[in-house]
Amino acid sequence: MKAVISRLVDEAAALRDIGIGTIAIMPNDTEHYPADSFDNMKRFAAQHRFTFPYVIDETQEVARTYAAQCTPDFFGFNAADELQYRGRLDASRTTLVPGARRELFEAMRQVAATGRGPAEQMPSMGCSIKWRD
């Protein structure tokens, strides 16, 4: 996650500029993983200058409902709240791939224009969600 956070913040800003909102949800079990505590979320957001809401899913109900698998995991919806994107941010993983296609941004720009996401999507990769049980 640390490897992609600056790109994620940049892409969220770019999406905002074309009228697409973003929210970040922290679903991990904070009881057994105190590094993910609410206070640390605040520090993390300040350190990386989040410009979008950052919320905690304390019961993990939202993550389960959305069938989230890992962090980061991207869900892109159209104006009717229909899922249209479940891919990755871009082709980079732990290190930046020069010239990597901005897959999330391009997909959501398409969703904004047409209501539909791209047929081909590459899954996001990340750390597994820390479930309570």
Binding site: A24, I56, A79
Partner: protein, 50 residues
């Protein structure tokens, strides 16, 4: 690194509403993050590092 549902986008799946506490003290819902045309919602997006 764990893959997230490889290659699967359940097109048309309807987003469920939520009410979650933000670091700003506000409770956020799905409607709050709507842009005028679409929304990018990186659910479970951020893991706070140690």
């Amino acid at each position: 690194m764990a893959p997230a549902l490889p290659g699967i986008c359940d097109f048309g799946w309807k987003a469920r509403d939520f009410a979650l506490r933000g670091i700003d003290g506000r409770t956020w819902s799905l409607a709050d993050v709507h842009g005028p045309k679409a929304r990018s919602s990186p659910s479970s997006a951020i893991t706070v590092p140690t």
